[in-house]
């Protein structure tokens, strides 16, 4: 098994093809500077003396010290020359951002890709790409997008598509997902999905693996690597190009063979690998894996605050395969002691518990949560609140803030996991409020979802994963 650890630990990185504010500089040089990469950074440009405040060199050969890692943004036709220089300079890894290789489907591109693969093998330089974004490793300050989070996490991600890797990291960042390592590997002319899956399976920093792949270069080895990885850790795969037209688009994107959907899906099922169909579903599913231990069962206690959405909440839960058990008379009367019907006739103490507006009272809300937590007929709790224009700026906003503070304190006393649905209208002001609440509650391991269905589906799949492994 190849040990790829070295690709994540370069002590120097040269970026070829940068000039002041061109896209290569924006994408590769600036993130390194801004993410606090501690090694040496060498911009390479045939004319410029300085780029982004760093001394620039006319070529790799002119860099004084050793160069471990080269990021290449020069035109495809000039890459073989660069590769030869890298071999001479004893560069360990070249990441080729440049497109225009086999994915173009054209003779010239295919030939060029073969040529660089050949130079790579002979010169003992490993290649990532071409047609990819490379490595995001926040712990070491390596990144290809300045807005990526600077703090690392436990999720390892291998992505064939550069664009989708960026999209997922950013979508995930907004919802508190943090990554150990992300590798966008494009056409995979040397290092491929099998190498990276093997690496992540053994990587102690990655506790969960996700993959976005469009096709495979080394199918047999990849399946073995996937099997090994799935035995060790939860693996979630997002397969692009599952439909006929999708497969056609794959060919022009990374030049690989998409294969048929049914084959991949049944393979994933056999290996206990979770498959998702879109990015939103993927992020949703990552949240319980990141925040929770396995649940004891699928019985959920539902608690709604401020609205009459109990019915839809119960329907969504049941539809996703969760169990919404009826509460005992004893439990219902303990809840009634907390919210007497006379005090708020709009409340209901069945499961779902509807605390109505009384739920914004921190005392009522905390006590109700603690009471359901103690009941051994449920395995976890799902809370629901709703935010919209009416919550901004008025007295309701203060009530919400207080309830959230109470939730954080109460959560620490609970024995069971808690998730939360925040329904919101996604208007900018609401988003700010909702995003603030999400940030607070995820510190106490409460994952937040934007709809009943998405919460119920993600949690249900999380439970299924652990059931199958028992």
């Amino acid at each position: 098994m190849p040990d790829l650890e070295f690709i994540f630990h370069p002590s120097s990185i040269a970026v070829a093809g940068v000039s002041q504010h061109n896209s290569t500089a924006d994408m590769f040089l600036d993130p390194l500077i801004q993410s606090g990469y501690k090694g040496k950074i060498y911009p390479i440009h045939h004319k410029a003396n300085e780029v982004s405040g760093l001394k620039a060199y006319p070529s790799i050969m002119d860099v004084p010290g050793p160069v471990d890692h080269v990021t290449c943004g020069i035109r495809a036709t000039r890459t073989p020359e660069l590769m030869r220089e890298c071999a001479a300079k004893r560069v360990k890894l070249v990441q080729i951002f440049t497109a225009g290789f086999s994915e173009s489907g054209e003779e010239e591109g295919i030939r060029l890709e073969k040529e660089i693969a050949e130079i790579s093998r002979r010169g003992n330089v490993r290649v990532l790409g071409p047609n990819c974004m490379g490595i995001y490793y926040p712990d070491l300050g390596i990144s290809y997008e300045p807005s990526f989070p600077k703090d690392g996490g436990r999720i390892g991600f291998l992505a064939q598509s550069g664009g989708n890797s960026m999209r997922l990291v950013m979508l995930g960042a907004a919802r508190g997902i943090r990554f150990s390592k992300v590798v966008s590997y494009g056409n995979a002319c040397d290092i491929n999905e099998a190498d990276l899956m093997e690496y992540l399976a053994d990587d102690p920093e990655s506790k969960i693996i996700i993959g976005y792949i469009e096709g495979t270069r080394d199918g047999r080895r990849f399946v073995r690597a996937l099997q090994k990885a799935a035995e060790a850790k939860p693996v979630i795969m997002f397969k692009g190009g599952v439909t006929e037209a999708g497969t056609r688009a794959v060919a022009s994107h990374t030049g690989s063979l998409g294969g048929t959907d049914a084959v991949w899906s049944s393979l994933f099922r056999q290996l206990g690998v979770m498959q998702v169909d879109d990015m939103e579903e993927l992020i949703d599913l990552l949240l319980p894996f990141q925040h929770w231990q396995p649940l004891r069962g699928k019985r959920v206690g539902l608690i709604g605050i401020g609205g009459g959405y109990s019915v839809l909440l119960a329907d969504a839960s049941a539809r996703a395969g969760l169990i919404v058990p009826a509460f005992t008379e004893e439990l219902k009367s303990s809840l009634r002691d907390i919210v007497p019907r006379e005090a708020d006739p709009g409340t209901s103490v069945h499961n779902p518990v509807d605390l109505s507006v009384s739920g914004w009272n921190p005392d009522i809300f905390s006590k109700a949560l603690e009471t359901v937590d103690k009941y051994d007929g449920v395995d976890f709790m799902l809370l629901c609140i709703s935010l919209h224009a009416g919550c901004i700026g008025g007295p309701l906003k203060q009530m919400i803030d207080k309830a959230v503070d109470a939730l954080v304190i109460t959560k620490k006393k609970l024995n069971k996991p808690v998730a939360m649905v925040i329904l919101e209208d996604f208007a900018p002001e609401t988003r700010k409020l909702s995003s603030g609440i999400q940030e607070i509650v995820r510190q106490v391991n409460i994952p937040v979802f934007p709809s009943f269905n998405r919460a119920a589906r993600a949690i249900s799949r999380f439970i299924q994963y652990h059931e199958r492994r028992q």
């Binding site: 225009g100 064939q160 598509s161 664009g163 989708n164 890797s165 999209r167 960042a173 907004a174 919802r175 976005y212 692009g240 190009g241 439909t243 037209a245 999708g246 056609r248 688009a249 022009s252 994107h253 169909d277 879109d278 939103e280 401020g306 609205g307 009459g308 959405y309 019915v311 839809l312 909440l313 119960a314 329907d315 969504a316 839960s317 049941a318 539809r319 919404v324 009826a326 019907r341 006739p345 709009g346 209901s348 069945h350 779902p352 709703s386 919209h388 224009a389 009416g390 007295p395 329904l423 209208d425 996604f426 208007a427 900018p428 609401t430 700010k432 995003s435 709809s451 009943f452 269905n453």
Partner: protein, 466 residues
């Protein structure tokens, strides 16, 4: 057929049970909205212990109000409602809406008896009742609302909703995405006016072009089905049926006291009548957006255009999964597109379907030509464009300008997926793009899956009506 028009046009409204506490329901949900919406009729708050609230004179009782009272909103405790009903009969009130809960939905003898009693008084005294246990009416053209933050403009969507909370939820969710309503009725336990009355009304209401219903159970099943059948012939109807599973059915009982019925029966009824059934509020808003902004595409063939190869693949997969076709372009179309965006100049651009416009940098000179060429190709029925929003890119604004400008010359529907990271910073930008697109009749969606699903159901609706 009952003519309920007068329900939506009261000349005076009394709100019984207002208190000095401005966060009380009566004040914040009913009095404040009337003031802020600029309701032009007379407003009479009623409370024997208060003389003025929010600058409006308060009356001790209904009978103390000098002029006639058309409409009463009741926020009193349940026990006090029969007495109020009798006063209303004497006063000649036409409609009374009960926000008050604690009736049949409690499942308890006392509440059931009270509800029967007010229904009886209503029947004998010739007063119509909305509720109890509901929010009542939002009718922007009459400047009546039960939430001060609802939009003040009218739209073409009529919404009948058994649940007060869900009615607020849908109007708010929709508001942020540009959905506008003609009339919304939250009718709760429906002890007098019920789902059949309002469905009937919406079927004939000229302000309402699309009808949405959130129902948990029926009071008058047979009449409702007849009303639904008649309405479905006249207008598109979208139904969200709450209380599908066992737990949901139980929740319905304690929510509005209705019997939810068997979900399979409802599902097949909706299918037979050509009614679109949805399962959540997000899907509902997605569909409404299409009905509000888009002409129906003639078929299921979509042309995809946007930035990023990986995104194109996901867009393609989403479309095909929902039964839309993403046909490859013939040589002639590809050649035309290549002439507009030559490989040498616009590196990384792909001219198959999806068109990957990465290399174009969303060039506002090139992009409209690409769009026009795709729209001119008669192998496509509509176009779905997609973009990712990164905070602060003026480029995105330019694309939207060129997109909305080009759209005017196209005779095929265009929709757009605007993907953002949900980060508050990017949301503002996405929000602006969305609003501008909607103004130009381009519906926008937050993900490929949701766009593809909504468009496919929109097309399906029109296919079935052919």
């Amino acid at each position: 057929m009952p003519d309920l028009e007068y329900v939506f046009h009261p000349r005076s409204i009394a709100i019984v049970g207002v208190s000095r506490d401005s966060s009380s329901y009566a004040t914040s949900s009913f009095l404040k909205p009337l003031i802020q919406f600029g309701y032009e009729g007379k407003t009479y708050p009623v409370n024997p212990e208060v003389s003025e609230i929010l600058g409006v004179k308060v009356y001790p009782g209904i009978s103390d109000i000098p002029g006639p009272v058309d409409y009463v909103i009741c926020c009193l405790r349940a026990e006090l409602t029969p007495k109020l009903m009798r006063e209303c009969v004497t006063k000649g009130v036409k409609v009374i809406q009960f926000f008050t809960s604690g009736f049949s939905e409690t499942g308890q003898e006392k509440g059931i008896r009270l509800e029967r009693e007010i229904a009886e008084i209503a029947h004998q005294g010739g007063i119509r009742v909305i509720g109890p246990n509901c929010m009542g009416i939002y009718c922007p053209s009459s400047r009546i609302s039960f939430d001060a933050s609802f939009p003040k403009e009218s739209g073409s969507i009529g919404f009948l909703c058994q649940s007060g909370g869900n009615s607020i939820e849908l109007v708010q969710l929709g508001n942020a995405r540009g959905i506008r309503f003609s009339k919304v009725v939250s009718f709760g336990n429906a002890c007098d006016l019920n789902e059949a009355d309002f469905m009937d009304y919406f079927a004939h209401d000229p302000q309402t072009e699309v009808i949405v219903g959130y129902l948990e159970g029926m009071k008058e099943g047979r009449r409702f089905i007849n009303a639904l059948r008649e309405a479905a012939i006249a207008k598109p109807i979208i139904m969200l049926k709450g209380g599908e599973g066992e737990a949901g059915i139980e929740a319905v009982a304690s929510h509005t006291g209705a019997l939810a019925g068997n979900s399979a029966v409802w599902g097949s009824l909706f299918r037979q009548l050509g009614i679109i059934q949805v399962h959540d509020l997000e899907e509902l808003v997605d569909l409404l957006l299409l009905f509000q902004h888009s002409k129906p595409p003639k078929g299921r063939r979509v042309g995809l255009v946007g930035t990023g190869g990986g995104r194109g693949i996901l867009a393609t997969d989403s479309c095909e999964r929902e039964g839309l076709a993403v046909p490859p372009f013939p040589e002639a179309v590809r050649r035309k597109l290549r002439e507009i965006a030559p490989e040498e100049r616009y590196h990384g651009t792909s001219v198959r379907n999806p068109v990957d416009s990465a290399g174009l940098d969303w060039n506002p000179d090139i992009f409209p030509k690409i769009l026009k060429t795709m729209a001119d190709y008669d192998g496509l029925d509509f176009i779905l464009a997609y973009t990712r929003v990164t905070f602060g890119t003026e480029r995105v604004a330019k694309v939207i300008d060129s997109l909305t400008e080009t759209k005017k010359d196209l005779d095929k529907p265009v929709a757009m997926v605007v993907r953002h990271s949900e980060e508050p910073k990017t949301v503002s930008c996405a929000f602006e793009i969305q609003n501008r697109c909607h103004q130009s009749g381009i519906p926008t969606f937050p993900s490929f899956s949701r766009a593809a699903r909504a468009i496919s159901r929109f097309i399906e609706y029109h296919e079935q009506r052919k």
